[in-house]
Amino acid sequence: MSDAALSQPAPAMRSIAGRDIGLKRRYAAERRFRAFGIAAITIGLVFLVALFASIVSKGYTAFQQTRITLTVDFDPAIIAPNGDRTAAGIMSGDAFRFDTLMQNAVITTLSLDPDDEDGLYDALDLFSKGSVPLLRRTIAEDPSLIGQKRDVEFYADGNIDAFVKGAISADVPEEQRVVKDAQIKVLQELQADGHVHKAFNTGLFTFGNSTRPEVAGVGVAIVGSFWMMLVVLVLSLPIGVAASIYLEEFAPKNRLTDLIEVNINNLAAVPSIVYGILGLSVFINFAHLPRSAALVGGLVLTLSTLPTIIIATRAALKAVPPSIREAGLGVGASKMQTIFHHVLPLAMPGILTGTIIGLAHALGETAPLLMIGMKAFVADVPTSPLEPATALPTQIYMWATEPERAFVERTSAAIMILLAFLFVMNAAAVVLRRAFERRW
């Protein structure tokens, strides 16, 4: 402020009427600004759609699956050579005897020459390698089948499935594809006889991992991810909010708390694999929690999600105007009451946003899980968070690295399932967020 301005006497006011206030330029700026906003959202959504389209176009076929029906003769001589028809009896003994059962079914259904070994193996290769164990389990669950002749639906081998869906083309020379001409012939025969059909792939959701794409599923991963997210939600939301409240509302404002604030911001920049290392040494090596367990995964992800939630929550708390706090304190509410009754509800949308983003990120996180053994082959669906499990992203990662063509679509399908998971999580949070939103 110059002294000249200070000492001048007040001049008469100049009216704004008729003066150019640059409206044209300002409206152009306004329109530009608005257009930028629309463009920004559009760009974001376009990328989302592009990603979605590429995933869905690759993955939608995985929800359908080729099945082949065979007539199986449940021959007691093979199944229960010693007469033990109990489930335990079926599940014990020579495991390879059920291969014979399967071979017989193929030979009779296709009327093959029993001595043509190559022909038999080519035909057998049409079926999932998991067929035999599945057959065995079916019999164990229902021993009354023994002695009957029944039509049984088998999963087609992953390559055959891919072939039927057109992912493997018959046009390329035989030596460049995994499906042999002989197999195609047999398959066509089967199709002509109506033995081949497509069905919804329920196993994709319920089965554990498998080396055979046709019976591989994300069941274990869904359960694992679910438990991890539960642990993350149950721990990181309350801890994050509690920590934020303390730091923002109660902690004395001094260098130490500044340091803590900066430090928490900084934790967000720590590569997530470092959390994996920390988790490995603290939860597994020190606390002796089991490796590959969803609980440990959840704990590690909690640590890596906390900074996000804390930062978002603190920002939201800061944005609540002080007059609300004054009003609360003024009627004799304690600081704690004021915060929990008035400030926190107003900050809730921001807190939920932080939680959604934090959880979304945690859900898609792979690197730290690598360190604690969650990128593993796990076939059995875990029944508690302490049992070995995988997670959706690690499962996706593993499938993405499988050489078989049939895993390509399943990888995309698994991503779609993960996104569906994400949608559900977001939807829940959006509903909550709307409930808390208030315009001033």
């Binding site: 290392i277 930062i311 603190r314 921001g350 994400l422 959006v430």
Partner: protein, 486 residues
């Protein structure tokens, strides 16, 4: 009674306390004529806290101590040979635990047979659904029995102690209740304690991270000179193992630091304008329907696994940028480049900026907007000059968070920008980041204590320090420009 039931009992006692406290203060207030200091509910909580808190703390402590005592007791029983080797001991203890689990489900007759050696342990246990890898020697059965009895005794002691403490706490607090007791203060102190404990999780995490990295990093610096690490311009750790005769100075940090900076900066260049404009549009212009759809949709971008982004970058974006930008401009041939990584990563972190900023912008009081609009400002002027400055701290926080995510990301960088460490200004070349190399060196096929592995920790601690510095600067900037409304 397991820990679960113990907790149930304590919880039940606490629930009784919740009611008893209220009643107690009510009657006392009536008889003495002094009104209670706090609401009756606080006296209930006060009593409940005194009942449950010490008991639960004791329970946790004992639960940690109990296995240690049991192990010590069992170990003393074992023959010399079994305890000699530490590694084997842990396995033996594992088997004993398994056996002791089995013993609990055996009938007395089976137990006697087992002890007399009439039946072998393995098939017997197998029939009970407990798998043993091999048969167990008799001393293990004896040890398992000891284990069971010690554990059982301890269990009884623990239960008694916990319940007694809960009871004591109950009585103590019950007697302490009187109308002038500042129950609310006490309860809120406990809540404050909980809040502080929650904050300390973040602190402990930092300590854990720093401690786990610092020690190994020092180890690294004892093998490789800090100068060659911090000022080295070549990153080629493979052949510089200490003592292997290779030249030192192949652990140059600079190319990685440069790559990190370059890629993150580009990512922010994408994410900040898009995110901020999206946030502004959603908060200030869009109808509530548009907003409630667009916002969660954008948030999905943060949750897509990074490997998906990575392959998207590698297969779609990278070649497109190479073919339509790099080659026509004559700037490079590589489908792996900084631009791809920056672009794709920028997309991933958009929601960090957009959603968080949107909430902060919405929270700015309407009176401020009215003030500006009332002066004839256009909406965009109001936003730029009044709303955004008022929302600045939150927005900076959101941007920092986005930057942090960009710095910490691996998969996208690997697939989009490659793993070649180099310094170049050309954004159409391959480059890589510190985080990528941390992951690489840690998961590498490398010796345990070689500098090749340890360098990961040195990188980690360096990254930590640098980002800390950046955050401090950001804090100061925010402090300087912060506009506290009302």
């Amino acid at each position: 009674m397991g820990s679960f039931w113990l907790l149930v009992v304590v919880a039940a006692l606490a629930a009784i306390g919740l009611v008893a406290g209220r009643i107690r203060v009510g009657t006392l207030a009536k008889s003495s004529g002094t009104p209670p200091h706090s609401r009756p509910a606080y006296y209930g909580s006060y009593l409940a806290i005194w009942t449950a808190l010490p008991a639960v703390v004791l329970l946790v402590v004992l639960a940690i101590v109990r296995p240690i005592i049991v192990d010590t007791a069992v170990r003393q029983q074992l023959p010399e040979a079994a305890t000699a080797d530490g590694a084997n001991l842990s396995l033996t203890m594992g088997v004993i635990e398994e056996v002791s689990r089995g013993l609990k489900v055996l009938s007395t007759e089976e137990l006697d047979n087992l002890k007399l050696g009439l039946v072998a342990a393995r098939p017997l246990f197998a029939s009970k659904g407990i798998a043993l890898a091999s048969d167990v020697p008799p001393y293990m059965i004896a040890a398992a029995q000891t284990r069971n009895s010690v554990d059982g005794t301890l269990g009884v002691i623990l239960e008694t102690a916990v319940i007694a403490l809960a009871g004591f706490g109950f009585v103590f607090a019950f007697l302490k209740i009187r109308p002038r007791l500042r129950a609310r203060g006490s309860v809120e102190t406990v809540i404050l304690g909980v809040l502080i404990a929650a904050s300390s999780v973040a602190i402990l995490t930092t300590i854990g991270i720093v401690a786990s990295m610092l020690f190994e990093a020092l180890h690294f610096f004892s093998q490789v000179s800090p100068a060659s690490f911090f000022f080295g311009t070549v990153w080629d750790p493979r052949f510089a193992a200490a003592g292997s005769g290779g030249s030192q100075g192949q652990f140059g940090l600079l190319p990685l630091a440069w790559g990190t900076l370059y890629i993150s900066a580009l990512a922010l260049l994408v994410a900040v304008p898009i995110g901020l404009f999206a946030a502004i549009y959603m908060a200030e212009y869009a109808s509530s329907t548009v907003r409630s759809v667009a916002k969660p949709l954008l948030e999905i971008l943060a949750g897509i696994p990074t490997i998906v982004y990575g392959f998207f970058a590698l297969v779609t974006v990278g070649p497109a940028i190479r073919d339509f930008l790099a080659i026509p401009l004559g700037l490079g041939q590589s489908g792996n480049n900084v631009v791809t990584a920056g672009l794709v990563m920028g997309i991933m972190i958009i929601p960090y900026v957009s959603s968080l900023s949107d909430d902060i912008i919405t929270a700015v009081p309407r009176a401020l907007r009215d003030g500006s609009l009332g002066l004839g400002a256009t909406k965009s002027e109001t936003i730029k000059r009044v709303v955004l400055p008022a929302a600045l701290p939150g927005i900076v926080g959101a941007i920092l968070l986005a930057a942090s995510r960009a710095i910490g990301e691996t998969m996208i960088v690997v697939l989009a920008a490659g793993v070649a460490a180099r310094i170049s200004a050309n954004p159409f070349e391959e480059m890589t980041t510190i985080t990528v190399k941390i992951v690489n060196q840690l998961t590498g096929d490398l010796e345990f204590t070689s500098p090749q592995t340890l360098v990961a920790f040195a990188l980690g601690i360096t990254l930590f320090t640098v980002t800390l510095g950046l955050n401090i600067i950001a804090l100061h900037i925010v402090r300087k420009y912060r506009e506290q409304y009302e």
